[in-house]
Amino acid sequence: MNASAPLLRIRGLCVDFPRGGRVLHDVSLDAAEGEIVGLVGESGAGKTLATLSILGLAPAPGRIAGGKIFVGDQELTQLDEEALRPLRGRLAGFVFQDPSASLNPVRRIGSALIESAMRHSGLSRKQARKRAIEALRSVELPEPESALRAFPHQFSGGQRQRIMIALALINRPPLLIADEPTTALDAAVQSRVLDLLKRRARRHTLLMITHDLALAAGFCDRLYVMHGGRVVEHGPARELFSQPRHNYTRSLLDALPGRRTTAPMRSGRPQSREALAAVRGLTVRYRGAAQAAVENVDFAVHANETVCLVGESGSGKTTIARALAGVIRAAPDQLSFPALGDDPPSAAVRARHLQMVFQDPYSSLNPRWPVERIVAEPIRTHRLCSRPEQKARVAALLSRVGLDPRRMNRRPAAFSGGQRQRIALARALAMNPRLLLADEALSALDIRTQAQILALLRDIREERKLALLLITHDLSLASEVGDRVIVLRRGRIVEQGPASRVMNSPRHEYTRELLAAQARWRRGSPRQQGRRMYTPGL
């Protein structure tokens, strides 16, 4: 083997799908020993397919139509399933995005690890068990021995991802492929898992897929940018980030929070003193839970302002949203809507004035209904206008959110994630609400789509003098769009204030930790360019 040849070499890889035609076009990629290579691009760019193809794991009808793949000096595209199988896990280990879905819920952690070790390395069960404990220890999982007997649901998301990493590395493959390994995790957990990957990567070649360009630039040595099944640009991470050559790379960079060319949303002035929604000492305790999900929370949202609720999962953000929407009943003295009159509003009145947009644009729209019916649903329920008018209303709403009204007869499947979120927004606006509640409505979107939807939200908010309550785990997003930011932790507000103040001089230790965790490994986020308030290695 040529000592200087990179460990992984992909040359001119093409992948075809019988119905979809060519999906990967002439993809070439190198990754040297000990190198961290990032594969960036939006969903559908072909990043995952390219890496799955290395060991013949492309989903069923997909077929390698051309090109060569080398790991070391072994060529892999000519091998059949039987020859490839023993190489999986041994030549390359995989870590996938969603650790809760990637581990079999009915199998013990130990059996997955031990069987994988026995399968490849010819170890006895006893030796394999020892190897499994070592592997769990190397990913810094506490009490590895008892972890072997546990099931996936007994671990947190971050721990599950550590277990996935242990599983990927248990047969000591030279190549580690991590597909969005931290996307499903909270910021603090994310940075710890990334720390771990970085440490482990020294002994492996790490190929990392991510849609987060700032993360890729801060974490990887070299980057490949993919778009539409092609590699459009590649080079050292630093260079690519500071001097992008391809237009597509540039557009990705421009969409980064803090760099977006769109004017910031933060310009709203509360129009009246009277709050649309006032939360006073809100406390919610779920049945059987030891701790209250939300405890003694105070805040208000006024017309024409954007308030961001920020916190990690389990901090009570969604519980607050559910209380506002009336899904959870809150005491009248804990939650009021002063702008809607003195009495607690009825469910119908509340629904007319308060509308929601949800996180997952795939599950929040009925797949069997045409878009017209989806958007018209609230109009029909509340009898806002006559049938003939309805169509015109829907058309107007769709064009307002940037969709072609002529497509109103199509079903959600015909639309992309970003377009679906526009549909959901149109549905929410159909009621002409005064308070719009967006629960992680931007989290599932690609960065450029996110920027577009954000701009749309801003315009609509200003146009209609809406009160906007944005729920997010992403502090940089909150700082970018919020007039005020409320930081939640374990159901309590730890800090609230004007967005710029919270970002620039956070008063609470937890806010500082969150900011540091988000900035760690990320390049170009506004906080990192300015002060470095975190201690590296934290």
Binding site: S102, P105, V106, R107, A150, H153
Partner: protein, 307 residues
């Protein structure tokens, strides 16, 4: 744990009371056993005497309470016909029924699970579609029709197998197959649906990425994920299976609890009927409890948190 057991015991008690009350009403509508006992052309005096002897002359609510009190001591009375204690008669027939139940359940498991796994592996493939269609057809055939076809073919036409009793193992074959038809097609469909669903999950991709063979993936990754639904089905369908037992035992003259039930019902032998229903209710309840426990064993998410 103790609270769980107490809750189960309470449920069993309610179930038995319900079954008993229902049966009491149904039997009251069925006819007068004194007429059956008295033979042809009974004199009114004879009927009086028989009614007095069996306590049939008391008002219904009194009879109900008396019977309830006896049942609390597991005393179901004696058979109107043989004079044997009713519970003893029912329990004597239980082994025959259990033998058939175990045989047909075993047969169901070894056919339906592999077939379900095979179909679920690639449900869109032509051969699997055919398999799924056949399963759907099989589900549509009532078990007793299948039994009649099998008897006609193997006993009457070919003369290969005996059709009566269970003294020789060769006679076990047809009843087990026929009874298996009550559950196997349903189980096969549940398993194939569960496996097909599991095969789409991310953790199957993880297993493939770790070099697991297709066989390992199907049996060790996908099937365990499909098992909870299968066990739940068996638990829920067991009572239905008991009705199948009555039919199949009747057709094959299999000396079991089903056959006894049939005779006793024809003869309005109330004490024996009561005893049989008691035994069956306890049996169904026990199987359901077993299924629940098994469910907890194979699906760790249902267990109470220990960590």
């Amino acid at each position: 744990m103790l609270a769980g057991l107490a809750q189960r015991a309470a449920r069993l008690l309610i179930l038995l009371l319900g079954v008993n009350a229902l049966l009491f009403v149904a039997l009251g509508l069925a006819g007068d056993p004194a007429l059956m006992l008295a033979g042809e052309d009974p004199t009114p005096e004879l009927l009086e005497r028989i009614r007095a002897e069996y306590g049939l002359d008391l008002p219904a609510w009194q009879r109900y309470l008396v019977q309830l009190g006896r049942m609390a001591q597991l005393d179901f009375g004696v058979s109107i016909y043989s004079g044997q204690p009713a519970l003893e008669m029912a329990l004597e027939q239980l082994p025959g029924t259990l033998l058939m139940a175990v045989l047909s359940m075993g047969l169901t498991l070894v056919t339906a699970i592999p077939a379900g796994v095979w179909i679920g592996q690639r449900p869109e493939a032509a051969s699997r579609r055919l398999g799924a269609a056949l399963t759907a057809v099989a589900q549509g055939i009532p078990g007793f029709v299948m039994a009649l076809v099998l008897i006609q073919l193997f006993v009457v036409r070919l003369g290969w197998l005996p059709s009566l009793g269970y003294s020789q193992p060769a006679a076990w074959i047809l009843p087990s197959i026929s009874l298996g038809f009550f559950l196997a097609p349903k189980l096969c469909r549940v398993v194939s649906a569960g496996v097909a669903e599991a095969m789409q999950e991310d953790y199957i991709r993880t297993a493939r990425a770790n070099g697991a063979s297709m066989r390992f993936i199907l049996w060790r990754e996908a099937l365990p994920a499909a098992l909870p639904a299968a066990v739940a089905l068996i638990g829920a369908q067991f009572a239905f299976l008991v009705s199948g037992v009555v039919l199949i035992e009747t057709l094959f003259l299999w000396p079991g609890i089903g056959l006894l039930l049939l005779y006793s019902a024809q003869n309005l032998d109330f004490p024996v009927l009561q005893a049989i229903c008691f035994v069956v209710a306890v049996l169904v309840f026990a199987v359901n409890g077993l299924a629940d426990a098994l469910l907890r064993l194979i699906d760790p998410r249902l267990r109470p948190a220990t960590q």
